[in-house]
Amino acid sequence: MIKARGLTKYYGRRLAIDHLTFEAHKGEIVGFLGPNGAGKTTTMRILTGYMPPSDGDAWIAGYHVVDESLEVRRRVGYLPENIALYDDMTVWDYLAFMGQLRQVPNLDERIAEVLERVDLLHRSESFIGSLSRGMRQRVGLAQAILHRPEVLILDEPTMGLDPAQRVEVRNLIREIGQEHTVMLSTHILSEAQALCDRVLILNQGRILAEDTPEELELRLRGAQRIRLRVSGADRGDDLQSRLTALKGVLRVHQVDAHHWEVELAPEASRDLRPVLARTVLDAGYDLHEMCTVSLSLEDIFLQLIREEGAGPNEAPSTADDAPPTSAPEDDEEA
């Protein structure tokens, strides 16, 4: 459905995206995950026909995004980041305008149907300027799905929404994803995991990794850390050595007198928490608290970038022009 080969975009002399190659198949929800400025919006703007790439090609439903831009635009529904709408139009008039431009058949029925779906039918006569952030976002979604596009491109679809609205929009996307190919961008890890069949991690215009959320999670478990709060007996650094000796423990780090952090090895598939608890007690300490330190996206990027930096030295095969498909270097080194 979506195919990109060596997509590159320069803004002046600044390289925004660097030879991106990826695919999204019919009925798939693919997520772009990356920090701000990673090139997510740029990539999406190229796919929607808003602007041409500096180099490389992309096809949507078999149509080239530059040469057959109009055909592409007919088949794509697009929700831009920070959706801009005409505040002086009513919701209904706005959708009618977009629907006419897109030549949607039985427009009135379809508008009612779509508004029902995004739960805005009761506000159809309101001026868009009077809507809340969440409602505007839903108008944007309604606009994107109005013409039953084969491909939906959603740029940060849940940004700026409160948690309840976020859940609502996610459910909507999941529902839509059953019929359409969806490509969305986000910088929230959990969102990518919850929604996507496949995740592309983007940083500084390059794809660092491409994985299913499960694989990604597995990979991240390599950096899973458990924090322990202990007190009591001080038999030297006995606890340190005991914990380090455990199978599946990669590193042990004493944060302060009472806090320890245990980093687990990626292949540790079994739950080590009972073992850790017993070890602490055996060492003569009292265990007050044990919690998993969840990694922030920043940590993951730092980790991926570190891996990438180390990659070429250990495995020179991952040359720049060969697109990293599932970044195999990390599992081997661990």
């Binding site: 975009k9 803004y11 740029t42 703007r45 929607t48 026909g49 808003y50 602007m51 041409p52 109009l70 635009r73 007919r74 794509v76 697009y78 831009p80 920070n82 959706i83 801009a84 709408l85 005409y86 002086d88 139009m89 305008f97 977009m98 006419q100 431009l101 897109r102 030549q103 606009q143």
Partner: protein
Amino acid sequence: MRTVWIIARREFRRYFTSPAGYLVLFLYLFVLGLIVNNSLQRAYAFSLFQGAPPPNADIVIGPMLTLLVFSIPALTMRLLAGEQASGTLELLLTAPVRDWELVVGKWLGALLFVVVLLALTLIYPLALHLLTEPGLDWGPVVSGYLGLLLVSAALLALGVAVSALFRSQVAAFVVTLALFLFLWMISSLAAAGSPSEGLLRYLDFGHHFYTAFFRGVIDLQGVVYYLSVTAFGLLMGTVIIESRRWRG
């Protein structure tokens, strides 16, 4: 063409859902009313003394071009600049709309509004017709209004092109007005008898109006001039929008 019409219709309606449209309409009719009223009073005073001929449609159509020069930038400034500033252009450019359809649609919507504006001013010639004896000669009125329509088409096309250049509506307004004033004054730049005089005079949009349409003559050269300026403006607008895509 369908797409052009959809965009034009929406743009036309927008003038009536925003204060800007009403403001231009009100100011235009109000100022024109003041001028016409003033001219009428003067004509009346003269007629008492010297038995001068009754005023003709010149006192209405004469000031209308000047007023258009100042009104049209206010009508065109938001057409594309506003869409760029608010970001709504992104959805239009990712809809199946060709760049020229967007530009022509915007222009046509504004032109329809100007047609309404010009139609409303017809109350003044009508009033003159009723006030004077033996009534108006309608020939110059027809050619005058046709001229005003052609001038409007040309100025609106230039305004749309300038509006495509800017994100700021204020900047679009100022530059459009400056461009109009420049094109208006251009023939006075040339020294009389100099070789460039003919060319500069040809480029002057007021010149074609006042020497022909205003005097009741429908001049082919003038028609060609206004239509070519219109085409040029719309082409420039399209090129600018297209280049926006490339610049990203």
